[in-house]
Each structure stands twice: as C-alpha cells, then as structure tokens.
Amino acid sequence: MKLMNDRTLLIIFAAFVLAAPLIFAPTGAAYPDLLQRFAIYGIFAIGFNILFGLTGYLSFGHAAFLGVGSYASVWMFKLLTMNIIPALILAVVMAGLFSLIIGYVSLRRSGIYFSILTLAFAQMSYNLAYSVLTPLTNGETGLQLRLDDPRYLDGASVEGTLPSTNLFGLEMKEVFWNPNILGYDLQFNYGYYVCAVLLIASFYIAMRIFRSPFGLMLRAVKTNQNRLRYTGINTRPYTLTAFVISGMFAGLAGGLLATMDPLAGAERMQWTVGGEVVLMVVLGGMGTLIGPILGAVFIKYFENIFSKINEGVLHSWFAIMPEWLDNTLVAIVSPFVGKGWHLTLGALFMIVVIFLPGGLVDGAKRIGGWITGANRRKAKAEAE
C-alpha cells in the first residue's frame, strides 16, 4: 500500500519544486509569473484539501479567505512596509479570523446545507468588497498602491515610482539567474522561490496533519460522524479547526498573490474562484497529499497555456499535412483550445470523475501498477 515513506516523499517533492523552472521549461510554462501561480494555487489547494479531503465538508466559500488575504496584504504594503513578511502574517491572521466566524456559523449544518451556507457567505463577502466596504476595499477599482501611501517603516525610500514588494531588500520580481540551458532561456526569480519554500512548508504541515491523531479524527468525521459522537468525540471543534486551518492556507495564498502584484480586487472573492479550488482538489485526487498540487498545476496550466493556442498556432502545428487535412484538423481542434479551453478542462474533469474517482493520483497509481505488474499480482491473489 505504501509506496515510499514520508521523508522520501518530502525530499522528492522539495527537489521537484525547487527545480521547477528547469523541469517546466519544455512545456512552455517556465516563466516566473506562471510558476508562482502554480505554487500559490498549490498552497490554496493543499489547505482546501485538509477540510474537503479529510472531513468531506465541501466549502464553496474559500475564495472569500483568498480575497481577505489579498486585501490584508495590500493594506500592509500601503501602511507599513513593502517587506512581504508583515503582509503575509496579517493575511494569514485575518483569513483565520474570518474563517472562524464563517466556519462557526456554517458548520452548524452538514452536507449540502453547509455548502450552500458557505456559498452564501462567499457571495456576501464579494458584495461587501465590491460595494459596501468601499473605503476598505476601494470597490470596483480594487485596492492599489499609491505614491502618497504612508508606509510608515520605509515610505521615504522611493521617489516618484511605486515601490515593489520585497523580502528584506530582495525584490520579488527580480530575476537573479538567467541561464540558457539546453536551448531554453530559464529565469530564476526571488518571488518564485519565496512561494516555493512556503509551498514545501505547507506540504510538510499537511503531511503531519494527515498522519496525526487530529487527522485521523478528521477522516473519521468524513466516514461516520454519528459513530464518532457516540465514541466520545465532540466533532464540531474538530471540523471548525480544519475549516480555520484551510482558511489560513487560503489567506496565505491570497497574500502571496498580492506580493506578485500588489493590488487586490473583489473578483478574487467571487465564488467561481472557490469553485476552481474544488475542481483542483477533485481533479488531482481528494484526500491525497500530492493530488491537490497536481490539480492546481493542471488547471493553471490549462488556463494560461491552452488558452493561448489560437488558430495560427494550430496551423503551424499541422503545417506538414496537406492543406485540406490541416484545415480539417484545425477546425476540429480549435473549439477545444484558445478561448474554448474550458471545454477541454470540462471534458477532462468528466473523464476523471467517471473513470478515476481518485483523481490524477489514482491514475498515476494504476499506471504504476501496470508497469510493475502489481495489478496482475493483486488480481491473481483475489482470484485465489
């Protein structure tokens, strides 16, 4: 059952994440902005999986915490300093407080009623951010940095231009190494590595939670909450803690999004963003450690790469074919790429849900099983 022990898994994962600018180069995704999104949405999905994957409580409201994290960060950039540490801390704390309130109310119900309550809260938060709380959120325009922001700690350092986010002077956007390896122009920037380190830390925390007594209780909540109550466990504080932890991860992700680009808009709180993280976790494999990150990478890859494939690109792919075949193929494929990338993602999602209920991780396990022959051995053992 166990393929490798936790330490090996963590080391392989960390190596993979740190080498990502190299590994993703052949896929066309190895530019800092997208890699950073992979890592950030990976953190978001890891946190969401602690709630959804372990306890089975499906929240559609986690976009609200992502948004709260972003707003909190930008306020920190405006008021205090462009250093990202205070911004990230406030993002996590504020998202934690928010999720405590929303979770306390929503968790009075379970199943579909819980989902609907979180959805309602997300929509409320969106509307608050969009209109009612305009002094705090700057409404439709979104919260942005301005030249006359006080920035009490380092306000005077920059003249005439907006300062950029940094970690003790290391600018997040700065590319510190720009080698050319195997014909690929690679960019290593500080921003990605900040996100990467936090992603690895999040992965480690999730791993510890999965293996802990606390994690076992959360899984028991998903399986049979009734039995758990009659076993002397008060289930509500367990689910609330899981909810707050996942909310804090979402806040961290929101804060990191603001470190990439220091502006926060209400659209980040829209429930579709919360729906996207559900897709990520289900696609990758809910309740698994690595699945949510795979799902996040997959969806962000589709969103950014597939959506850029237009007919011109397709014609160049099929250029060696005869012209009539080229045109036919382009006509068939083009609805699924470019603006139609959602179509491909939807089809893929359906295939995964129907044939691989365990997500991409399940698929990888099955393929691994075919290669090593473990499936055949298992089938044989069952037959006997």
Partner: protein, 252 residues
C-alpha cells in the same frame, strides 16, 4: 444504588405516548435485558439514555450523575458505550484505525488538537488497539478495510471499539438482529466472554429469546411504552402478563 437509575421517563411523539412513566434500575455488574414486542418503545428508551432524544419528563442518572440534556459525546465520556442495531463503524478506515479512534477518545478526551505527532508511532495507543483486537480474535484482520468485513466481523469490531474505551455501562441494541443462528451463538459466546473477563454492566435490547435467556441476569418487559414486568429470567418466563403481551407470540 444501581449504576443506571431511570425515573418516571415520559416521551411523546405527537399523539403517541411512546414512553409512559418508565422506571429502570440497573445493578452494577448485571446484564439487564429489555424485551418487548415491536413498537414497545425499546429503541426510544435507549435513545433517551444516550442523549439522542430528550425525554419530556423524568430523570436519568448514571453513577448518581444526571445525564439528561448532555450531548452524546459527554455521556460517552462518562463511561457509557453503545453498540448499534446495524453496526456503526468507520467504513472507509482500516480495522486498526477503527479501534485506535476510541482509544484516543478515551485517553485524550472529547477534543484535543494533536496535529504534530504521528498516530502510528503512538506506542500506548497501538498496544491497546492490538490487545483488544487480539482479545476479540480479529488481529489477523487489522489491516483490512473495515467496510469490506462480513456483518459478523463488523459487529465484533464495533464491540471491540466500545470495549477498548473501558466503559462502565455497555448498551447493546439488538446485537444479533438479522444474524444466522451460528453467528448468534458466536455473539452470545463473545458477550459471555466479555462478561467474564471485564465484568461490564450491560443493558441489552433483544428480540431473540434464546439470546435473552442465555445472557440476562435481570429482565424488564416493555409493552406500549410501559414496563409491565421485571424480574429474574425464570420469573419472567412464567409471568402471565408477559405471556399475554409478548411471549405468547414467540417461541420460548
């Protein structure tokens, strides 16, 4: 004074008087069977004991402490465990994990955030879980997915989960319902074994007279929401009211 004292419990469901002034005194160390025809109110009564239902009037005391109005997990933490009519286990977890959860609940209480230790490296919990599975003859199955167990094994697992908490009172709701005779006999042996090795007070709700007369030290008969007779098994067998209400229809 008994370990469980129930006084004048009444429960209405709309116009139905489901429990009518029920009194019950369960002696420490006894096996108290509660029998009665279908719809007599046995399950309602049990649900009142464990906090699932709240009676309209009356009092329930466990070890002298009133338990009415307490949540199910609080009552369990006082030392009352329950075996359900259809086995309630954690079907998606392994047999071993199923038993570890009550161990943890017993040691750490109703809520504890213990998120940074490894549950599989907790020697004390592992040992306790292994011991109880050994005792229940399920050690060879500890790594199986509990949802794939046979019904008899699920029942056995559920009992292991209750026993590992070292309860003072064990409530069993028709532990042999729907079982074949051989399985029923196994369950009787298991319960006798538990009685001999642990001496836990038990309240059993049961339809099968064979089971009742094999195990019970005291029997109460419930009919139409009221206790109509109570006494030793021999007395109950011959009690005219009981024959009329219940045993007349069943084989003895």
């Amino acid at each position: 004074m008994g370990i469980l004292e129930v006084q004048n419990v009444n429960k209405h469901f709309g116009g139905l008087h489901a429990l009518n002034n029920v009194n019950l005194d369960v002696e420490q160390g006894s096996v108290h069977a509660l029998i009665g025809p279908n719809g007599a109110g046995k399950s309602t009564f049990l649900n009142c004991l464990i906090g699932k239902l709240k009676p309209d009037t009356g009092s329930v005391k466990f070890n002298g402490e009133p338990v009415l109005g307490k949540a199910p997990h609080e009552i369990n933490q006082l030392g009352v465990s329950r075996v359900f009519q259809t086995p309630e286990i954690f079907g998606e977890l392994s047999v071993f994990e199923n038993v570890m959860i009550p161990c943890l609940a017993h040691r750490d209480g109703a809520f504890k955030i213990n998120a940074f230790s490894m549950v599989m490296k907790d020697k004390e919990i592992r040992q306790k879980a292994e011991d109880i599975l050994e005792d229940m003859g399920m050690k060879d199955k500890m790594n199986l997915h509990s949802g794939s167990l046979s019904r008899g094994d699920k029942r056995r697992l559920e009992m292991a989960m209750c026993l590992v908490q070292e309860p003072k009172l064990l409530l069993l709701d028709e532990p042999t319902a729907g079982m074949a005779r051989a399985d029923t006999n196994n369950t009787i042996d298991l319960l006798k074994h538990i009685g001999e090795t642990r001496g836990i007070t038990k309240v059993i709700i049961e339809h099968d007279m064979h089971v009742v007369f094999s195990l019970a030290t005291t029997i109460s008969v419930l009919a139409q929401g009221a206790i109509i007779a109570e006494g030793l098994p021999e007395d109950i067998k011959g009690h005219p009211k009981v024959r009329e209400a219940y045993l007349g229809e069943a084989e003895v």
